[in-house]
């Protein structure tokens, strides 16, 4: 493990933790604007987290060690997954870090525990959230894997580091397939981060909620960890999209200037994407749960199309 890589670990983790709440706040702000509200400040997420961290934790009498462990495991898994997606600097991959399958399954690990925690307290909302989360995760999985397989075909590798490196080397938007991949990735992003039209991250009491239902019983710093991890996950998937499609500025060598520029550019690109997500969410109505499979089918169709184009072209 080279020094570069250790520096990468630190930079990447720190950076993503720092900026993650920003994007989440930004999306909210955009949504508020489009709805004609002023909305909370962009930095409101940071305040929330800080406040939650200071609050005491309340556990249900039925809750077990699952409830206590989940925030930690969830956070740890997401943070390890974060190591797989370089935000600003792409080093040489070490020991299989960057493996796309491992990345997916780390997210799955987090989800598994989150779903268990949803069931732990015996609340019907939590159970509903878990149930729906696992269902959606399951049926989006073929699409995800096909998209990643398409990426593997395009980039001749299934290591995210290598993909980023080659996309950074070639610039941007090299092939039309990348656009299609972008669409699919966007759908995956929406689904994985529980956004409209799949889920509504703003509500707590609608019967439609999924992700928020699962973490309904979480309180205090546990809730903070869950919120933070959700934000990190959002940022991760955004980064995946950004660095594949518009990799401009992505540093491939370790220089302070390069990283600084890359960071600034990333924040800009990320903000743009956040705005797009916000607008997209605002323009959509939440879909009924059982209409979702058709949405996923569309995504699956797109990704299969990519494969067919790639294979037969």
């Amino acid at each position: 493990m080279s020094l570069d890589f250790i520096i990468y670990l630190i930079i990447n983790t720190a950076f993503i933790l720092l900026i993650a709440p920003l994007f989440a706040g930004l999306i909210r702000k955009v949504k508020a604007w489009t709805q004609g509200r002023q909305g909370p400040p962009v930095l409101q997420q940071y305040y929330n987290l800080a406040k939650l961290f200071r609050k005491e934790i309340i556990y249900s009498p039925h809750a077990s060690w699952i409830m206590r462990a989940t925030p930690l495991v969830n956070m740890a898994a997401i943070m390890v997954a974060a190591l797989f997606v370089p935000l600003v600097f792409v080093p040489e991959p070490v020991g299989g870090i960057g493996n796309i399958i491992l990345f997916l399954y780390l997210l799955a690990l987090a989800r598994f525990f989150m779903a268990l925690a949803g069931l732990d307290a015996g609340s019907s909302f939590g159970g509903m959230g878990s149930s729906r989360e696992m269902s959606i995760a399951a049926i989006i999985e073929p699409t995800t894997i096909i998209v990643f397989a398409a990426l593997a075909i395009v980039f001749k590798s299934f290591n995210i580091f290598v993909m980023f490196a080659s996309s950074a080397a070639t610039g941007a938007l090299t092939t039309p397939t990348i656009i299609l991949i972008g669409i699919s990735l966007f759908i995956i992003l929406i689904v994985e981060t529980s956004r409209i039209p799949v889920d509504n991250p703003e509500t707590h009491l609608e019967l439609t909620m999924i992700h928020e239902g699962m973490i309904l019983e979480q309180t205090g710093r546990n809730l903070a960890l869950m919120e933070l991890s959700a934000a990190v996950k959002l940022t991760l998937l955004m980064a995946l999209m950004i660095n594949l499609i518009i990799p401009a500025g992505l540093a491939v060598t370790l220089t302070a200037a390069g990283i600084f520029i890359a960071a600034i550019l990333f924040i800009l690109k990320g903000s743009l994407l956040a705005v797009i997500i916000g607008l997209f969410e605002s323009s959509m109505a939440k879909k009924r749960f059982f209409q979702l499979p058709s949405l996923f089918a569309m995504a699956f169709f797109f990704s299969t199309l990519i494969i067919i184009i790639e294979v037969f072209a």
């Binding site: 740890a76 299989g96 878990s130 019983e217």
Partner: protein, 647 residues
């Protein structure tokens, strides 16, 4: 040395079989001694297996060839050693568990028979795997079938068991027929029983033999559509037996297929595609059916179908890639299949054993009547959770490691193989991913419904943790799951397979641990360490009951609806009326249940056809002498005509 150890192991298995049958008294000590023999034998078996696996060379045993008629011969090469190791590990743990478990069963001295047959069953499986020719393979294959049949029939007087027994008997015998046909065709092709490579055999014989053997092994390993015996037999048998059957016996069938594919046949592309298709179908349908199941052991049985499907996918992929000229990737696929066999054996036996503990504690198999057990059986809960994590293929446990190998093989292969095959492989890959994600959902449901929340029945509320011996066996298995997961890369390297694209899961594990510690540290220092307990938020209700919890059914409802074309329900109404016109309703019953597609459209119609023919045939025997004499007369006339015609 290796030979002696192996033979000693066999002798101890034999002792474990004979002892409880010879000493028929219903005493604990007899059974414990028998299980001790089994454990000792397993340990003794494990040593030669590891030695051969690490490359001490193939061990050949002197054959038993009575009067030169045929020969029963054994040989342990690396493939056999691998499966022997699998059998040894699982058997030892299961026997350890069963020492205590069998004491809590009903049945008096029948329990002696149970432990005796368990030994015999393991012995038969060991010998199947060690067989050096097809004849001894078949011999012990049958012995295995017979022993396992007795084990399934342990609670013979229960209606469910007898149905399971009939299903199991029929399917297992059908498998025998096919295996026998395959072996005979092979013999016709090569003229010998040796497991040697077939050379200059007419291809129709080789193909026929392969198809027969494949069908035979598919039936035995529960590949859809031959799977139906699994969800009947597993719940009906005692848990250690379910564990052995699911974890080991299915693998013996996998071993059979692999042995013939690797050593005897030269597979063609379409063979691989066939295996891949059946494997994929089993994997997807298996897990979908598992989701719907609320009998804990039946759910595990369906999950076995799924995992066997994954293993078959690996084998199919191996052949497809091998025939496409990609030996290295083929090896990865094969390794994935083998590794998954081992892993599935470990975590599935772990799950069956812990499920057995749970069922023992709650006296029900219905997960809707469980709940909240994590407080009452915390250790069992933790073990089950480990198993669930492993089977849901989550890093850093072993289930993930083997599925990762398969994913790698799939991903790598698509960059090189020809277009049509590639699209086919992609579809399989997508379904594979679906399977894996669904199985995670399935085990969230299982663990959640059984262990989390509030108890949904008085039995569940009064459950107690099981004795230490019933934790030891699963404990070892759970440890093995973790170790094999973390050190998958290293284990493969030691075994002589270096796969550069394979991530080092140990490193990931370390990172995870590091992040965990980091998060914990931050949380510990940055926030107040106080917590309090308060009721679950119930949206304003005054009290909270188990009835308001999300049930297992509820949990799988969304997926039920999404996959509703696969779960057909059958509604049956029976109404009676006071009047003739059906206007005044008198009484009636209605029933809605899941359509058992394969049972109702495949198994039962076939059975009914046979029964119909049998009914027609039975008319021959009409108990009337005149008719009988007429048969004789007509036959004689026919024979005379035949004679005149042939002259």
């Amino acid at each position: 040395m290796i030979q002696e150890l192996f033979i000693a192991a066999l002798l101890f298995f034999g002792a474990g079989f004979v002892l409880p049958l010879a000493v028929r008294s219903d005493r604990r000590i007899v059974r414990t001694a028998s299980y001790a023999c089994t454990i000792l034998a397993s340990v003794l078996l494990g040593i030669p297996a590891i030695a051969v696996l690490l490359g001490s060379g193939t061990v050949i045993f002197p054959a038993y060839a009575p009067a030169g008629l045929f020969s029963i011969a054994f040989v342990i090469d690396r493939l056999a050693a691998f499966f022997l190791l699998l059998i040894a590990v699982v058997s030892a743990c299961v026997a350890l568990y069963a020492i205590e478990y069998s004491e809590h069963l009903d049945g008096g001295s029948r329990r002696n028979l149970l432990c005796g047959c368990t030994s015999l069953f393991i012995l038969a499986m060991v010998l199947v795997v060690a067989s050096a020719n097809t004849l001894s393979f078949f011999f012990f294959w049958e012995l295995m079938a017979a022993a396992s049949f007795f084990l399934v029939m342990y609670e013979y007087d229960q209606p469910a068991t007898s149905r399971a027994g009939i299903f199991y008997f029929i399917m297992t015998h059908l498998s025998t027929v096919f295996v026998m046909l395959g072996i005979i065709l092979l013999w016709l092709g090569s003229g010998s029983f040796a497991l040697d490579h077939l050379a200059d055999t007419p291809s129709y014989l080789a193909t026929g033999s392969f198809l027969a053997l494949f069908t035979g092994f598919a039936i035995k390993s529960g590949i859809i559509p031959f799977h139906k015996w699994l969800p009947y037999a597993h719940p009906a048998s005692p848990s250690p037996i379910s564990a052995l059957m699911s974890a080991v016996m299915l693998k013996v069938a996998v071993y059979g297929l692999l042995r013939f594919l690797l050593d005897v046949f030269s597979p063609e592309l379409w063979w691989g595609a066939l295996i891949l298709v059946f494997g994929t179908a089993s994997a997807v349908l298996g897990v979908i059916y598992a989701l719907k199941e609320h009998d804990l052991k039946a759910m595990l049985a369906y999950s076995s179908i799924e995992n066997i499907g994954i293993i078959f996918m690996g084998i199919g992929l191996y052949i497809v890639l091998g025939t496409a000229g990609l030996p290295f990737l083929a090896t990865i696929a094969l390794l994935g299949a083998l590794f998954h066999s081992l892993n599935h054996a470990l975590f599935k036996s772990l799950l069956f054993l812990t499920a057995g503990s749970v069922i023992h504690a709650t006296h029900t198999r219905d997960i809707e009547h469980m709940g909240g057990l994590v407080h009452r059986m915390p250790k069992t809960g933790a073990l089950f959770c480990t198993g669930a994590l492993a089977i849901a293929a989550l890093p850093p446990l072993n289930g993930f490691a083997s599925e990762l190998l398969l994913f790698i093989a799939f991903f790598e292969s698509v960059t090189v193989v020809e277009p049509l095959v590639k699209v086919f492989l992609f579809l399989c890959l997508a379904l594979f991913a679906l399977t894996s994600a669904l199985s995670a959902a399935c085990f969230v449901k299982a663990f959640g419904s059984v262990f989390l929340g509030m108890p949904r029945s008085p039995e569940s509320a009064g459950a107690h943790e099981v004795p230490a011996l019933m934790l030891a066996g699963p404990g070892i298995l759970a440890a093995a799951c973790v170790v094999l997961g973390l050190f998958a890369f290293q284990v493969l390297t030691i075994a002589g397979f270096t796969i550069p694209v394979m991530p080092d899961i140990f490193l990931i594990g370390l990172l995870l641990l590091m992040m965990l510690v980091l998060t914990y540290a931050v949380a510990f220092f940055a926030s107040p360490r106080t917590s309090r307990v308060s009721g679950t938020w119930g949206c304003g209700t005054h009290f909270q009951e188990a009835g308001t919890e999300y049930s297992g059914h509820g949990f799988s409802e969304p997926l039920d609806i999404i996959f509703s074309p696969l779960y057909r329900t059958r509604i049956r109404n029976e109404r009676t009326f006071f009047d003739e016109h059906g206007a005044i309703f008198k009484s009636g019953t209605a029933e809605i249940r899941l359509l058992r597609v394969f049972e109702e459209y495949l198994y039962l119609p076939v059975a009914r056809q046979f029964y119909r023919i049998a009914g027609a045939v039975a008319k021959i025997q009409n108990n009337c002498l005149d008719t009988y004499m007429l048969y004789v007369f007509v036959t004689i006339l026919t024979l005379l005509v035949f004679l005149g015609w042939s002259a």
